[in-house]
């Protein structure tokens, strides 16, 4: 069974929702659809106050290639386009829509073209137009990965079905309930990339998903389904490639560099879905779970639905709920504002109670070395932590801070409860500018050497 070195074993806690079928949530009365839901340039608003929009209408146009369009998740009237609480903690330009309470929200002529007969370029354009982004959390525009630079040679697509974060089950349920969709999405991606091989990696704690996928592989496609050891962060791109293919992505490079494109199974199913239904990406599967929610569920939620509406549909929070997390508890963002919306990249809403998040008093590092044993990219978190405390960010960069993916493993295992990953996140944002400048210099230096 494929695996990588190091990593941690947080409790899985998936049993709350892993056997609950995906259900659809009713349309809320208000949608807040941010124009920035993806990595890259925010979309440009296409609507203004008072405009009538139908379900699936484009309300934000992608700006440039590394960008994605956004669409109305329900028919209604644009109340305003303005700043609104964003799940990343900031205020962001958002299309606020009063949902039409009497509209049937039904089908209309397809917006996304039929797949058959499209050239790879047209597929890429259609996916960008349909606003498909990575649904695994980072929300990197999905079409960009399908149009690698001409000097790279991609020979395999890796479908990431690890879902290694505790609690989350949206990918799991997708694989169990819509395995054909995953295969269809892979077919489209293989066509766009001109690749004839794909591997789906699934953590071994989801045997039903592995079985469902295996039994539905189309005969004409070379799709392999591999079980992976249950270990966090098995679903990180670099770990995935190491586990499945034994290919190690060089520091500072992308998976493409070793001939692979990694996409999360939810996103692959979304690519299939937009071509199947003709609708752009306007809803997604969200795991609403955690000890602080009364009725956990796997829900199809319209993009832009406010957290409070989703929680209310799930019976509300328990009185001891203390933290709402978007994504899993290892890497997810705590939400300050129940009015913030669900985004395309929102894998789950995990409501944690005081008991689940209790942190003990921070103590001195006792050099136990557990963080080194945990770090999947072999950093020395203990030393980095000391440097972070002292604000010595330059030295942190020399120790490869940029290779840290903020997976949180070091903080998770630290017996002295030192907020390592948290400090690294801060250091990374503080040094991002420096890093960018360095990266710009690097290619020129390499060119000179050659």
């Amino acid at each position: 069974m494929g695996s990588f070195r190091h990593g941690v074993h947080p409790p899985e806690l998936k049993e709350l929702t892993s056997s609950l079928p995906i259900r659809r949530m009713p349309f809320p009365e208000l949608l807040a659809i941010p124009l920035r839901q993806h990595a890259g340039a925010p979309a440009r608003a296409l609507v203004k106050r008072g405009d009538r929009v139908e379900r699936g209408d484009k309300v934000g146009q992608a700006v440039g290639f590394i960008s994605s369009s956004v669409h109305a998740s329900a028919a209604g009237t644009v109340r305003d386009v303005r700043l609104w609480p964003h799940p990343d903690g900031s205020m962001a330009e958002t299309v606020v829509i009063d949902v039409d309470p009497v509209s049937p929200q039904g089908l209309r002529p397809r917006i996304v073209p039929e797949w058959a007969g499209l050239t790879p370029e047209q597929v890429v354009a259609a996916i960008q137009d349909a606003g498909v982004v990575g649904l695994g959390g980072a929300a990197f525009p999905a079409h960009v990965k399908l149009a690698p630079p001409p000097d790279t040679h991609v020979d395999v697509i890796v479908a990431n079905g690890a879902e290694c974060e505790p609690y989350l089950t949206s990918d799991h349920r997708t694989m169990v309930e819509y395995p054909e969709r995953v295969h269809f999405g892979l077919r489209i991606m293989m066509h766009a990339l001109g690749v004839d091989r794909a591997i789906i990696g699934v953590e071994a704690n989801k045997p039903d998903a592995i079985e469902a996928l295996r039994s539905t592989v189309p005969e004409d496609l070379d799709i392999q389904i591999e079980g992976l050891r249950v270990k966090y962060p098995q679903g990180a791109e670099k770990m995935m490639l190491e586990s499945l293919l034994g290919r190690r992505v060089p520091s500072g490079k992308l998976p493409m560099h070793v001939g692979a494109v990694v996409q999360n199974v939810g996103s692959i199913a979304a690519i299939a879905e937009v071509f199947e239904t003709g609708y752009p990406l306007i809803e997604r599967i969200v795991t609403v779970t955690g000890p602080g929610i009364r009725r956990p569920a796997n829900l199809i939620v319209p993009v832009g639905t406010r957290i409070a509406d989703v929680l209310e549909f799930c019976g509300g929070m328990t009185p001891d709920a203390e933290r709402i997390v978007f994504g899993g508890p290892m890497m997810g963002n705590a939400q300050p504002e129940p009015g913030a919306p669900v985004l395309k990249g929102t894998t789950g809403i995990v409501v944690l109670t005081g008991e689940a998040i209790a942190r003990e008093r921070e103590l001195a590092c006792i050099r136990c070395g557990r963080c080194l044993e945990a770090c999947p990219v072999f950093l020395d978190p203990a030393d980095l932590g000391r440097l972070a405390r002292a604000g010595r960010y330059d030295e942190m960069l020399e120790m490869h801070l940029s290779d840290c993916m903020l997976c949180g493993s070091c903080s998770y295992v630290c017996p002295s409860h030192i907020p390592l990953s948290q400090m690294f996140g801060l250091a990374k944002s503080m040094t991002r500018k420096v890093e960018r400048r360095r990266k710009e210099e690097e290619p020129s230096a390499a060119g000179a050497a050659a």
Binding site: K238, G332, A364, I366, G369, E373, F378, P415, S416
Partner: protein
């Protein structure tokens, strides 16, 4: 006018996201039966949201839990020691621990007693002392161990040398006679050696103590072996904690299973001692063989409890192997050719000093950096 607008916007921004709470129970979401008392209940006591960066969960292990578990595993060892040496054992251990705790309490950080590390230092120091040592010396050693072995470096996690061993090194330098006077095993568990009760700053000169040589002393100075079974069970002369080899191994195995100590260090030490002494024994049969070297003296206690002190051992696994092998080799060298019968303490202290260097050279290459370098070349 623009100022006016911003003001209005801000007001609405505050108001609107709250709406779901105000209108709870009336929205379309209600259609699915989500309303009712549950929703209202939630509404009335909307929890205060708590913000923090990820990760939001934590493994159940904590530093105090590790430390106190180590203390717990010392209890059976202390019990055996009391069985062999009588109440004296408890008195010596209590004195050393009291000295350690007192200094930690007065000079250490507030609340640092709770992490358990001072108790470990005191107990471990006590276990390296002879049962007949004057109690005031044990107390002084405990105080020195914490004060000069730990706090002077900046407290928990900052010290270079194992504090308990530093305390013992200090005592050995200051009171060489008391530290090498090994009383005979107690006949009853109520036994208290007269020398324990010497007044502070006085030597126990006038008290008569029946002494007993340690197996290492016998081997070194009188070329006399000791029965291996006796060594394994521990009814031989020696310091409080060096006489229960098997029990120490069992406790160490438990700690290793809990991942509270790095098993590579004791395994490396034992392997190095065994291999090196077996080799020497083969070359010159008058030298003791591997089983005797493994079971005698403070090797078990040192390898399982002292060398594995997380603060003063390497953080990398490769480093731990190097560290352990170094300790094993130096121990054998001191025992066979040094002026002392026992070498575990100095070999650990010596390797402690090398830890920063070992960590530096054994730090693993960051993921993908080798591949990146290969490509650049």
């Amino acid at each position: 006018m623009s100022a006016d607008r911003t003001g209005g916007d801000r007001e609405r921004l505050r108001g609107e996201p709250e709406r779901p709470r105000e209108t709870a129970g009336g929205g379309p979401a209600d259609g699915a039966g989500a309303g009712g008392p549950a929703t209202e209940g939630t509404d009335a006591e909307t929890p205060r949201l708590h913000l923090a960066p990820s990760p939001h969960i934590h493994s159940p292990d904590s530093t105090p839990r590790i430390m106190w578990t180590v203390v717990a595993t010392l209890v059976p060892i202390i019990g055996v020691s009391t069985w062999f040496f009588g109440l004296s054992a408890l008195l010596v251990l209590a004195s050393a621990t009291l000295g350690a705790l007192l200094v930690e309490r007065t000079l250490g950080e507030r609340g640092s007693l709770g992490d358990g590390s001072a108790v470990i230092t005191g107990l471990l120091l006590g276990l390296t002392l002879p049962a007949g040592i004057p109690l005031w010396m044990a107390f002084l050693g405990g105080a020195f161990a914490i004060g000069f072995g730990k706090l002077i470096f900046g407290g928990l996690g900052q010290n270079i040398f194992n504090p308990a061993l530093l305390g013992r090194a200090f005592l050995q330098a200051a009171f060489p006679t008391a530290l090498t006077t090994w009383p005979a095993l107690a006949e009853r568990w109520t036994n208290v050696y007269g020398s324990n009760l010497a007044l502070p700053l006085l030597s126990p000169g006038k008290v008569d103590v029946v002494t007993m040589a340690t197996p290492l002393g016998l081997m070194k100075f009188e070329h006399q072996g000791t029965d291996l079974l006796k060594l394994a069970i521990g009814n031989t002369g020696g310091s409080l904690g060096e006489t229960a080899g098997i029990l120490i191994l069992v406790c160490g195995a438990y700690l290793a299973w809990k991942n509270y100590l790095n098993w590579r260090i004791p395994v490396a030490i034992f392997s190095a001692v065994a291999a090196f002494s077996a080799l020497l024994h083969a070359l010159s049969p008058s030298l003791p063989g591997a089983p005797f070297m493994l079971l005698s003296g403070g090797l078990m206690l040192g390898a399982v409890y002292m060398a594995t002190d997380m603060v003063t051992s390497p953080v990398t696994n490769l480093g731990s192997w190097i560290f352990g092998i170094g300790i094993g080799l130096i121990t054998v060298v001191i025992r066979l050719w040094g002026g002392l019968a026992e070498g575990v303490m100095y070999s650990i202290l010596f390797m402690n000093a090398l830890v920063p260097f070992i960590d530096q050279v054994t730090r693993p290459a960051v993921f993908g950096t080798r591949a990146a370098r290969k490509e650049a070349a």
